[in-house]
């Protein structure tokens, strides 16, 4: 009994520490502050995306579509659909404070829900694109990509951070 205990107790402690380190690693990633410039980040994302069905939106468009106040953040980049029949959209927000993650996330989720409702039963391809959209909240950057290859956009996004 003593022999197994001699092994089990340090093993249990080591497992605890390992789980803890994993958890801290996860927290670090979701809290990482990137110094990247928003123009660099958006350029990286748009260069791997088919932008033909999107046009750049200004502050009032961000406000209108997401209800977010661009002045509160360190930069916003929006590409929204040129025609009402498509749902291609990219939103990148650089936060000034990590606490803003929640509100931006809520705004993106709300927008996604509205778009899904609009396209449900309409364009199957568009609806699918929305379902496969990526919302990536990484520290002080938020990406929302409803594009044909959202994963590639996300990968480019992560790389530039």
């Amino acid at each position: 009994m003593k022999k197994t205990e001699r092994f089990l107790i340090p093993a249990a402690m080591a497992v605890c520490v390992a789980v803890l380190l994993l958890f801290i690693g996860f927290l670090q990633k979701s809290g990482k502050i990137s110094k990247a410039d928003i123009k660099t980040v958006s350029h990286a994302v748009t260069s791997v995306t088919d932008m033909s069905q999107m046009e750049e939106g200004d502050n009032s468009m961000v406000k209108r579509l997401y209800g977010l106040e661009p002045g509160k953040y360190n930069g916003t980049v929006l590409y929204y659909p040129t025609s009402a029949a498509t749902a291609n959209e990219i939103l990148i927000v650089k936060l000034t404070d990590i606490k803003q993650q929640d509100e931006v996330k809520a705004a993106v989720e709300a927008r996604l829900a509205v778009q899904k409702k609009n396209f449900n039963g309409y364009g199957v391809g568009q609806y699918e694109m929305l379902q496969n959209s990526v919302t990536d909240i990484s520290g002080n950057y938020v990406l929302f990509a409803a594009t044909k290859n959202a994963k590639a956009a996300d990968a480019a996004f992560q790389k530039t951070l």
Binding site: K2, P10, M13, V17, L20, Q28, G31, I33, K99
Partner: protein, 476 residues
């Protein structure tokens, strides 16, 4: 508004969490009561920052096994192994605390010293980490020093670490003081009522006194530097002195009261500190559980006063710098701790023979002056700003002795300052008891009911009005 942990003075706690957890606890059979407590406590802790429950779970599991390791080694007479377990476990616990609380401070200072630019990811501070880490360490040290037997029962240990009344802001209960109550405690209507009384008083202290004075303090501290007259500086200092006392002691009262309602007896954490006649006495009356922790687990193991004068002074300095550091990851807190350490050394070694000759009133005033100046360093964001504030209080660097803003904030807070200053002394409680004693028979009972209802109802108004009013010691 981001997620925030539950405070005892919130509507959700008082009118949802509290009644439900009481009901659950008292419905469940005796054998399951500790399990119920763990569930309730984890839910309480997870409220607002659910991810950080992983840290609490880690602390429970890791320290449980570490405790077993220490005890098994001791039982097998392997003193070296026991020491290894204890040291490793202590280091891991302190690293955890250090990582979440002091990483920014450390890295910024390293960068400053060595002209580097290391980066770190600022993470929100887990609620109560200073408190439950210190309690876990208390367990490890108590097992090692054989002040208490190892806790074989995982649930019981989990109750010790996670017990919700004390997890967010203390009191820091040492393991050997609580171990017996983990398995042998009871609560009858009388004890429940005693807990309720403490809770109601604590609620009133926090909501009616501390929060009210805090609005004045917040407004004063937001004034631009050149708009703070001597009067204003004093108003800020006095209100803060009262706020932190009523906030912290009120919260401790609520914690101890709640614990009592679940059958646990904890020692009081404050004993009218503002009537102290020396700084030495003050620290025996303020945040008693912290002082005891440092005394029992740092000062005495380091030798205390048993190894000569030089080591005694060294030990005192170490304890006080650590006490300051525990309060916050910034130089002004360390300075604050050192400030008190210096005063204590002064009283203990230099003024020792003079003190009994000085009249009590003079000693009291001087002590309070030191305490209030200490608070200025506590609430100032940086050391220089603290020095400037103290300067203004004594006429240095203030645009005027008194100005309109100063008078305004004084009139705003005067009633509460007077009530607060009076309430910080035992005289208030004595008068309360005296008035109660004047009533006879059933009028006395009625008076008790009325005063309880009064405090509760008055507090509810403030609780509804503020969606959020954080207890100051939360992020520790």
């Amino acid at each position: 508004m981001g997620a925030e942990a539950m405070t005892f003075s919130s509507l959700i706690f008082l009118f949802a969490f509290f009644p439900i957890s009481l009901l659950l606890y008292y419905l469940v059979p005796q054998k399951a009561k500790n399990t119920a407590l763990v569930v309730i406590s984890l839910l309480f802790y997870a409220w607002g920052m659910p991810k950080y429950m992983v840290l609490l779970a880690f602390s429970i599991f890791f320290n449980y096994f570490a405790g077993l390791g220490i005890a098994r080694s001791k039982a097998a007479d392997k003193r070296h192994a026991a020491l290894t377990y204890m040291v490793i476990a202590t280091v891991v616990n302190l690293l955890l605390l250090g990582f979440f609380k002091y990483d920014g401070f450390l890295i910024e200072n390293i960068n400053h010293l060595f002209h580097l630019s290391l980066t770190y990811t600022p993470l929100p501070l887990p609620i109560g980490i200073s408190f439950y880490t210190f309690q876990a360490l208390s367990y490890l040290f108590d097992i090692y020093m054989e002040k208490a037997p190892v806790q074989e029962n995982f649930i019981n240990f989990a109750v010790y670490v996670s017990f919700f009344p004390k997890i967010t802001s203390g009191p820091i209960v040492q393991y050997h003081d609580m171990v017996d109550q983990l398995t042998h405690r009871s609560c009858d209507l009388v004890k429940f009522g005693e807990g309720a009384k403490l809770f109601i008083i604590g609620l009133g202290k926090k909501v009616l006194l501390a929060d009210g004075l805090n609005t004045t303090f917040t407004a004063v501290s937001a004034l631009p530097a050149n708009g703070i007259s001597t009067l204003t500086a004093w108003v800020g200092c006095i209100t803060y002195t009262l706020v932190i006392y009523f906030d912290f002691s009120g919260y401790s009262d609520m914690a101890i009261g709640l614990a009592k309602m679940f059958g646990f007896d904890f020692a009081k954490n404050f004993d009218y500190p503002y009537i102290s006649e020396s700084v030495t006495e003050y620290w025996r009356r303020w945040h008693i559980s912290l002082g005891r922790w440092f005394r029992d687990y740092v000062y005495i193991p380091l030798g205390g006063n048993r190894n000569g004068l030089a080591k005694n002074i060294r030990n005192i300095i170490i304890v006080w710098l650590l006490t300051g550091l525990w309060h916050g990851a910034a130089w002004n807190f360390i300075f604050w701790g050192g400030f008190y350490g210096a005063l204590l050394l002064l009283e203990k070694f230099v003024l020792k023979d003079f003190l009994p000759k000085i009249p009590a009133a003079v000693k009291h005033i001087f002590t309070m002056l030191m305490v209030m100046i200490g608070w200025v360093f506590f609430f100032s964001p940086t050391l220089p700003s603290g020095l400037l504030w103290v300067g203004r209080m004594f006429g240095i660097g203030a645009p005027a002795a008194a100005d309109a803003a100063g008078r305004y904030y004084l009139t705003q807070s005067l009633a509460l300052i007077i009530i607060g200053a009076f309430g910080a002394t035992p005289a208030a409680a004595r008068i309360g008891r005296g008035i109660s004693a004047m009533a006879r028979g059933k009028y006395r009972l009625a008076l008790r009911i009325v005063s309880c209802c009064l405090i509760l109802v008055l507090s509810m108004a403030y609780m509804v009005n503020s969606t959020y009013s954080t207890f100051l010691y939360f992020k520790f």
